[in-house]
Structure formats: C-alpha cells, structure tokens
Symmetry: C2
Subunit: 351 residues, 2 copies
C-alpha cells in the first residue's frame, strides 16, 4: 500500500467506521474543489434553450452545407459518437488541410469559462462562428451561410420558430446562438466521481480514491478544478519545465496570439478533464496518445515532480471515473438543397 | 386540363363514381409495375438481422476509423440525415480526392438487385468492402480494419455477440455483413405513393396521379419499376440520343468495366427513384441539379421524346410522392481508441 497520500484507504488497515470517515473527509475536500455535472443543461444568459432552438441547433451542428465544400459539419471534428471530438492529433479540414490544434471535446464545453485552447471566444456561440469561417476548417462566409440556410424553406421556418418576433431571423449570429443551445445539451452527468461526490462511497474503489487524493495533493486540481476539471483558467504549458518541441511546438505561442502580452507566451487554457479517457490524443498539439504519459508530462512540466508509476496509475484510474453518461442524439433529418442553394465549392478551390 | 394522358382525372369533368373508377384503374395498373416499401426490413439470405448485428453494423457505418485517415465513415457519403447520400456531384474522399461517380443513397438500397452504378457488387455486404479499400474513398485495407476493430475490447465483444459460435468473429467479411444488416433497416415506408397503392385515393392529388399515368404511359416504368422504381436492370444511358459529355463523360464507360462486353459501353443500372427529391444532383455524373431537367434529359436520351413542360411538372410532382418516412437513427456511441489502435495515417500519405 502507498503511504504517500494523506489518507489511508485500505480497508484491511481501517475499521469500517474509519473507512467511512476517510471517505467523508475525501469527499468534503473534493467538494471544495470540484462539482458534479448537473443532470440538465445550465441556463445561458441571453439564450433561452427552447425546444425549437435546440432542435434547429442540432440540425446546424450536423449540417455539412455550412462548409463551402458541403463535406464538413461541426460533428466532423466534434463527433458526438466519439467523445465529442475526432481522435485525431489535429483535425482535417477544407482541402484536407491540417488544423493547428487538437479538437477539444464539445461535451460539457458549456461549462468552460471561454472556448478554444487560447480562450479567444467568450462563449459557445462566438466559438461556433470560428470554424465555419476558418480557411483550414469549413472555409465558408457569413454571407454564404445565410444564403444557404435561406434557400431551404424548412430552415427559414425553423429559424422563425426558434427566434420568434425577429423580422429576419436567418442570420449568422442566430446560427451560432442555435448551435450554442444544442451544444449546451451535450453534457455528461452521473460519472462515477459525481456519484461519489453525491455520497455514494462505493462509486470509487480504493485506487480511484487514492488517485483523487493524489490529484488534489500533488496540485493538479489547482488548474483542473470546477465542474469541468479545467476549462477555467490560463497557465503556461511548461510552468516548471518546458516540454520538448514534439509536445509543445515552438510556433504555437498560445494565448499570446490573443493578448499580445509577453507573459502569455505558451499559455493555454487548462484542458477540461471530463471524459478524458475518450479524448486522446492529448494536449493542444495532440502529440501524446497515452493518458499515463500525459499525466507524467504534466507532473514534470507543471508541477516539477516526477510522479512514480504507481502514482500515475492511480491518477489515471481516478481520471477514468470522470466519464459520464453520453448524451443520446437522434440524427436530425436535414432539408434537401434547392435550386437557390449555393453549390458546393469546386474541389480545387482551397479558399 | 391535359388530355394527353389515358385517364381523365379532373373531378370537375367526372362524377365521384367516375373518379373512383379512374383511381382504381390507375392503382391496378400501377400495382403491376411497382410495389410499396415494406414497413419492416426484408429477409436477407444468409444474414439474419439480429439486434446485436444491426447495432454493431450501425456503429461500423458511423466508424471513421475504418478509413486510414480516421476521418471518413460510410455516413460521410451516405449521410442518413441527408437522404442517405451527400448532396455532392461526386463524393470527396481520402486526401480530398474526388470520387468518380455520384454517391447513391443508402436508403432502400437493400431492394436493389445489385449495388454501385455498374452493379459490380452483388449485395450490400460486398458493396461495403469497396469504399473501405478504395484509394480515393477510405483508403484502408482489410488487415488494417481487423487490427483497428480488434484493438477495441468493446468491438471484440460486439462481434462475438453478433456472430455467435465463430472462433474469430472479428473479420473483414463480418464487418461487411454487419454493415449490410444495419443498412437493411434503412428503408423508407409509407410514401404517399405507397399509401395510394394501398387504397388511399386522396394520397395523390390530380397532378400527381397524372404524373403517375405519364410515368407509365411514356415508358419510364420500363426501367424504373419494382419496389425501388429502378435498381434492378442495366440500360445504356443514351439509348435513343446520347446526352452531352457534361452529363455522360466519355471516360466512364459504366458496366463495360465490369463485363468487358462492347454492348455494355455506357450501360448503367437504372437509378432507383425512391426519395428522388432528396438525392440531387442526378445521374452517375451528378451533373444535373434540377429534377425537372433530369426528367427532361431522360425523355430525350432514353425515350426519344421531348416531354412538354407540363408533362415534366406532372412527372416531378409524382416523383415527389416517392419520399417515404426517413428512418430514425440514434447516433451510436463508439468505443475509444486504445494503445493498440493503428494511428491515423499521416496527412501527407495519399495511399
């Protein structure tokens, strides 16, 4: 048994009452740092989640005609059947171009305080406008998107229903607002850790509880806290020891590109760790496939500590208890293109 | 009112009894040429549709890791939310390569007597093996597919359940068999035409009934008959008048590539017309976006007749009654990649 953690958990060395007390102390401590994913989507200021808006947002999320090629939808890189991302180091976009950073999961993204690895979008609605226009992703324009959606009577009706009272509801902004509404429903409640937090002692086994204790003791929770175990603050990658260029490529200076402040060089938003076992490969570079390796890298780079193999194993075992119930998504039925729908961009056009 | 069709349908010129008789005659005649899409999937020889196999097949249908890039799944080009295809002239595949022919809809494909535009696959299981290996589509190999699926314990379990009693159930053939089982469930019953065929006189309005009569009178039904309104026989495109190269590219000789028989030059399988309003653009070249234009081209090319605008309109109105109930598909939850899962092919490798 490891004695390096603050709390001894082995039942063999504790009475039932002692074990219950240890559980209770661990839970109390964890409760000050983390919270459970709620069963229902959160309230979003200025974006009421009506059924009409969420359903429209789902259609738009799956709509490849938001891309100029008509091939790429939000779901291409944020696949709801694959942990909300694409299992690629960095995504493939328009013209088979390689994106610059690893695609973050859409699951629970609504709980992040800002979006993208560098936090350059304040919320999911602002985020949604980025990839649609990015030349290496969907490569479209707001004008093309509005022309596309306006060309299909069913979309026009659905925008009217989702944004009642607006004279011209089919707008690029409303597209983003509807997508945000749908994405807010993509939350994963009831992870084993959340069950433990709610009072179920047996939801985490000994190794997992040990991993949780380590996660707090070693300092991981300083950056990876809250409901999403991250996604809230910005920290230099390589706070103590800068990782090699294979993990931290020199050309990507992170949040520096947003703030143009020297101290923001190589600063990134702490990755949210919910469902982390479903979101390999890891880091903004997507360079590390193994969760064990990712945890070890974090130890040296951020905490200046060489975690033992046993410690890494325990932390990984704990991190796997952050996998929640995957949302059920019925594939939406998208309306047919019409004579007015802008045609897919020619294959050769990489713009 | 048009008098060119055999049956006068305008209620204003007919008594109720006459109209009912006309409906009945039209239905009787149609029943000799077409049949309704059944409510339940058909029986497939040698491939029992168990729940375990259909669910596995659905996962595989949505599984981008069957492609070497990990980007492209069956659903990319046969999108169940978009009429079972991709609204592209020809599909985009591995490395952003352009496929040679328009992607046929997966809906009701189980009723076709053979698969692909040239009928080179006898059934859906044989078909499924093609795109997975094609260099311009998913660009994988049977060995890579088996290694990929074997690397994820959940797939191994699901293959065991879907193919009970087999010693090594994770095979390329079984992948195809499971995909066929799922695809067999993608049928679209209860189209307005089918309701009419079953005895509901009001399921088709006057113009639609006139279009149906024209469809039979003009000879369309000779090639586009059966449950799928096509998908059964092979015919030269340009039987009477060869269309221009923009519609019938000279380089694609159709079934000739399969049979190497001179008389099969530019011969293609008659396209199934179920849900045709959802499957633009049309023809194997995907060169024609308008259904009206496609019908007119068929008139001159195959029937040697210049259909009037009114006739085209009526036929199109009728064809739109072939849109059935779109199958409900819950997005499957795919297992995470493991350390043993072959990594996505490098971006630069177009092989």
């Amino acid at each position: 048994m490891k004695l390096s953690t603050a709390i001894m958990l082995t039942a063999g060395l504790m009475t039932g009452a002692q074990a219950a007390l240890a559980n209770s102390e661990l839970r109390d401590r964890a409760s000050t740092m983390f919270s459970a994913v709620p069963k229902y989507p959160p309230v979003i200021d200025g974006n009421e989640l009506t059924a009409a808006k969420v359903e429209l947002g789902k259609m738009l999320f799956f709509e490849p005609r938001l891309s100029s090629s008509h091939l790429i939808s939000c779901n291409t890189c944020h696949n709801v059947g694959m942990g909300g991302h694409d299992y690629l180091p960095t995504s493939i976009g328009h013209g088979w171009q390689k994106g610059p950073r690893n695609s973050p999961t859409v699951f629970n993204a609504v709980f992040n305080s800002a979006q993208f690895w560098d936090g350059r979008a304040a919320d999911l609605a602002e985020q949604a406008k980025g990839p649609v226009q990015a030349g290496v992703e969907m490569s479209s324009t707001p004008e093309r998107v509005v022309a596309t959606l306006s060309s299909m009577p069913e979309y026009v009706e659905r925008f009217k229903d989702a944004f009642p009272g607006e004279e011209n509801p089919v707008t690029f902004d409303n597209m983003a607002t509807a997508i945000e509404a749908f994405e807010a429903t993509l939350i994963t409640p009831d992870a084993e850790f959340d069950q433990f937090l709610r009072g179920n002692d047996s939801a985490l086994n000994e190794e997992e509880q040990e991993g949780l204790a380590l996660f707090m003791d070693k300092g991981c929770a300083a950056c990876h806290g809250g409901v999403n175990f991250g996604g809230e603050g910005y920290y230099p990658f390589g706070l103590v020891t800068r990782p090699g260029a294979e993990i931290l490529p020199e050309g990507d200076k992170g949040r520096f590109a947003v703030t143009e402040t020297a101290s923001d060089e190589y600063v990134f938003r702490a990755a949210p760790l919910r469902n982390i076992e479903l979101t390999a490969p890891y880091f903004h570079s997507g360079a590390v496939w193994s969760l064990e390796e990712a945890v070890a890298v974090m130890g040296t780079a951020q905490l200046g500590t060489e975690l033992s193999d046993d410690e890494v194993q325990s932390i990984v075992a704990f991190l796997k208890t952050l996998t929640g119930d995957i949302p059920e998504v019925r594939y939406p039925e998208l309306p047919p293109s019409t004579d007015e729908t802008p045609r897919p961009a020619p294959m050769s056009a990489l713009n």
